[in-house]
């Protein structure tokens, strides 16, 4: 699963769910896909301040990492929509295998008005619940 946050110029955060991602060839840039129809404030905030945090979680064991950095909105292409479809199918199957009923998952994942935020990763944090939570796992010098 993927959750994404932005913040407006006044420091008010926004939140939404990601429905797909792509790690770019440089291994330091990440595209995250979300629905602007479902999370309009998130898109507005990223356009306004260009800052994004995205947390990726493995639902079966809670292993989690948070990636932070500067972001820009990109045009959405056909490969992004394919990625979103694959991600939503995989996430639904994974959650269902863990006992979450399928009708409950359906409202969370949509690619309607899909948008791509390109995140220039500056910091990576361990976010798995436990003693290492919040630990900086990697950072790039400016």
């Amino acid at each position: 699963m993927c959750i994404i946050a932005g913040a407006d110029a006044a420091g008010r955060p926004s939140a939404g769910r990601g429905v797909g991602f792509d790690v770019l060839a440089d291994r330091e840039t990440l595209d995250v896909i979300f629905s602007a129809w479902q999370w309009p404030r998130l898109e507005a905030d990223i356009r306004q301040t260009g800052r994004v945090a995205a947390t990726f979680v493995s639902p079966s064991d809670y292993v989690s990492f948070q990636l932070k950095g500067a972001a820009t909105m990109q045009d959405t292409g056909a490969p992004d929509l394919d990625r979103a479809e694959r991600f939503m199918t995989a996430a639904t199957n994974e959650l269902e295998s863990l006992g979450v009923p399928r009708p409950l998952i359906a409202p969370w994942l949509t690619a309607r008005e899909a948008r791509v935020a390109r995140l220039d990763i500056r910091e990576i944090y361990v976010q798995t619940p436990g003693p290492l939570a919040g630990m900086l796992a990697g950072a790039r010098s400016q």
């Binding site: 959750i3 955060p13 926004s14 945090a53 409202p107 969370w108 976010q127 919040g134």
Partner: protein
């Protein structure tokens, strides 16, 4: 129509994780899952920020926070704009959050990882529903509201009962009629043994009467220790240990002197409601269901009303039975009607009693049976009053003054369930008669 926090009650069950987004003083966002959000009132929520230091630091530097809450029934999502107010690390609110966190952590199998250090209190500025790509599935939101007239009838029925067995049966009947739960137990507190003993039971293949839960163990122990209702509403992700009950469970009673706790196969939701009268713990009402989210906020409130009423009635019943006068003694029936000799063994170490080799009960209930048998063997008496038993055992077991009736009830029900050749029968307020199918032999020298 604007949404209120009370419209979102199914979001506060801890079944589907919430999401919290914050921003640091310099505007960098942070996002994480959150184990539990507690609704305090219509304008405030509390968050258990037990391990995400960055989130805690951010809200102190910048109080603006966005939450995503998820309805555990429908999957509907809500965005909340909230503002940090203060942190609490002690007191009733903290205790309430800590207890709920314990339950919700248990239901995702993480009770060891999550320990609440403090909770943050937030004011809610706005609530909006997140657009959903699907219609809410019809039938997902199923059950009707709790019927207040039905609840009132159940309370009146409880008020009419004077004896412990009637009160407990009336409580379990009310739970079934008013709320539709088919699997429920009443456990009575035994401070002598530091445990809760199953004294009433409906809906289980094996009644579990006489089974014990330590006062510190699990949901039932937590409810007893904290005096607060505690529930889990989705155990589907928890690996259930010992789910398969072997057929030997009942046979092993004779070797272990332990009655197996009743279990509901495929249980998904559980709730433990303390039964408290005038600040004294009388017992715990425990209910299980195979349905997800079986215990809504209003169900919890109805159960607390029923449990409180039953606790008060049980306490009053003890008092009245203790005050019963000896003038009401009925004509003595004949004991020992020609059957074979009945051998009763009592073990002093735990007051366990066996009748013809079958384990019956232990603790105060066992000590009571031994006492009655001793008196009977000494002078042939067959009818005994609560008052004399209370006097005889009170020195060794002082707590007996508050729960003799329920101990006698447990003893009576276990003898019935085991179809023992000895039975005890109520013959009036605070008075019972011993009945046996043959002459009695008491072996009370065992450790």
């Amino acid at each position: 129509m604007s949404l209120r926090l009370s419209d979102l009650s199914a979001c506060f069950e801890g079944v589907i994780p919430s999401i919290i987004a914050t921003a640091s003083a310099d505007g960098m966002p942070n996002i994480s899952y959150l184990s539990h959000v507690v609704r305090i009132d219509e304008e405030h929520v509390a968050l258990s920020n037990q391990f995400f230091a960055k989130t805690a630091a951010n809200v102190r530097a910048n109080p603006k926070v966005t939450l995503i809450l998820v309805d555990g029934f429908t999957g509907d999502q809500f965005l909340l704009d909230i503002g940090f107010m203060r942190s609490v690390d002690a007191g009733p609110l903290f205790d309430r959050i800590a207890l709920q966190l314990k339950a919700s952590s248990a239901q995702v199998g993480m009770s060891e990882v999550m320990r609440l250090r403090s909770a943050d209190v937030f004011r809610v500025h706005g609530i909006e529903k997140v657009p959903s790509p699907v219609e809410t599935a019809p039938g997902v939101v199923g059950r009707d509201s709790v019927s207040l007239p039905a609840l009132s009838d159940a309370i009146k029925a409880l008020e009419r009962q004077a004896d412990a067995d009637e009160i407990i049966d009336s409580l379990l009947g009310g739970v079934q009629r008013v709320l539709g739960y088919d699997n429920a137990l009443v456990l009575i507190h035994d401070s002598h043994r530091g445990s809760l003993v199953t004294t009433g039971s409906i809906g289980y293949e094996r009644s579990g009467l006489g089974s014990e839960i330590a006062s510190s163990e699990g949901l039932i122990g937590s409810a007893a220790t904290n005096g607060q209702t505690i529930k889990v509403n989705d155990m589907s992700r928890v690996r259930r240990l010992g789910e398969a009950i072997s057929l030997e469970a009942e046979a092993s009673e004779n070797a272990t002197r332990v009655v197996t706790f009743p279990q509901l196969p495929r249980v998904v939701s559980q709730i433990a409601v303390p039964m408290v009268a005038r600040n004294t713990l009388i017992g715990v009402l425990f209910i299980e269901s195979t349905q997800r989210l079986a215990f809504r906020e209003e169900d919890e409130a109805a159960l607390e009303i029923l449990a409180g009423q039953a606790a008060g009635a049980l306490r009053a019943s003890e008092r009245e039975a203790a005050a019963a006068q000896p003038t009401q003694v009925p004509p003595p029936p004949r004991l020992a009607s020609g059957g074979g000799e009945i051998r009763v063994v009592h073990h002093r170490v735990d007051d366990s009693v066996f009748v013809d080799g079958t384990y019956i009960v232990k603790g105060i209930a066992g000590a009571l049976l031994r006492l009655m048998l001793e008196w009977h063997l000494k002078d042939g008496s067959e009818v005994f009053t609560n008052r004399e038993m209370r006097l005889a055992l009170g020195g060794r077991m002082p707590e007996i003054k508050d729960n003799l009736e329920t101990r006698l009830l447990l003893l009576r029900r276990r003898l019935e369930e085991k179809q023992a050749p000895i039975q005890i029968v109520r013959v009036g307020r605070g008075r019972i008669r011993l009945e046996a199918t043959g002459p009695l032999l008491l072996d009370a020298a065992r450790e």
